[in-house]
């Protein structure tokens, strides 16, 4: 089981990342790409993070996914810095023998990244900037993975 976590300013290539994950026993790769979504005059996002904590926290989230599903390998790439509309922000890719585990783990990882990984988005609209507010829907999405 390999876990690849990268925090970087640079863009990534989804095909290359998926290719790197797959082995002869991989049957399924579920992946997710998050992008800077335009609208309401948004021009860019700037992503700040807590460097000493980010990889460690994402590592803990990845370990939890590994403990819950039979996974082969996974890659999480999260970009930081200023990103304009249409740019990729995040990739989560999960390889497994079967698709149910790959899908569930991928969605779990995204829900946990959204609510636990120490990143903060600042929006630029025209000349003004504003910190993005935490969405209750994200907290609810993460909450559903809690075991009873």
């Amino acid at each position: 089981m390999s876990v690849n976590i990268h925090i970087q300013a640079e863009d990534f290539d989804v095909s290359d990342e998926i290719e790197a994950l797959t082995t002869e026993t991989t049957g399924a790769v579920a992946s997710f790409v998050g992008l800077v979504r335009g609208g309401d005059d948004l021009t860019a996002l700037t992503l700040e993070h807590y460097p000493q904590m980010t990889e460690r926290e994402i590592g803990r989230i990845a370990a939890e996914a590994q403990a819950r599903w039979p996974l082969e390998s996974l890659t999480i790439i999260h970009r930081v810095g200023r990103l304009t509309v249409g740019e990729r922000i995040v990739l989560v890719a999960v390889a497994a023998s079967h698709r149910a585990a790959a899908f569930e783990a991928c969605e779990f990882l995204m829900d946990y990244l959204k609510t636990r990984a120490p990143f903060w988005k600042q929006e630029e609209r025209g000349g003004t900037t504003r910190w993005v507010e935490h969405r209750d829907a994200d907290a609810a999405a993460a909450e559903r993975w809690r075991k009873p």
């Binding site: 998050g34 992503l47 700040e48 993070h49 807590y50 000493q52 904590m53 460690r56 926290e57 999260h78 922000i89 995040v90 995204m110 990244l113 959204k114 609510t115 636990r116 990984a117 120490p118 990143f119 903060w120 988005k121 600042q122 910190w131 993005v132 507010e133 935490h134 969405r135 994200d138």
Partner: protein
């Protein structure tokens, strides 16, 4: 202790980090936050309502009741908005 601030917390207090000596009165994260709020100005704005803030101790999410020790790295920040 090394105390770090992120996002609007950093902007309101006007710095990204500072060193604060551990002391008996700063037993928990909540004690530290209350001391910072009492400084007034940007600190009062940032720490006035702890429900809007989150914290980590030594790079692990922590509650207001988490106990501090000398040498700890304590971070204050808004609820995260990455992904």
């Amino acid at each position: 202790m090394n105390v770090l601030y992120f996002a609007w917390v950093r902007q309101k207090v006007g710095r990204g980090e500072e060193v604060i000596e551990h002391a008996p009165a700063l037993r928990t994260v909540g004690d530290l936050a209350a001391m910072l709020a009492a400084r007034g100005g940007g600190y009062a704005e940032a720490f006035g309502d702890m429900r809007r803030l989150r914290a980590a101790v030594n790079q692990v999410h922590a509650g207001l009741d988490a106990v501090l020790a000398p040498g700890d790295e304590v971070a204050f920040f808004p609820p995260v908005t990455g992904g």
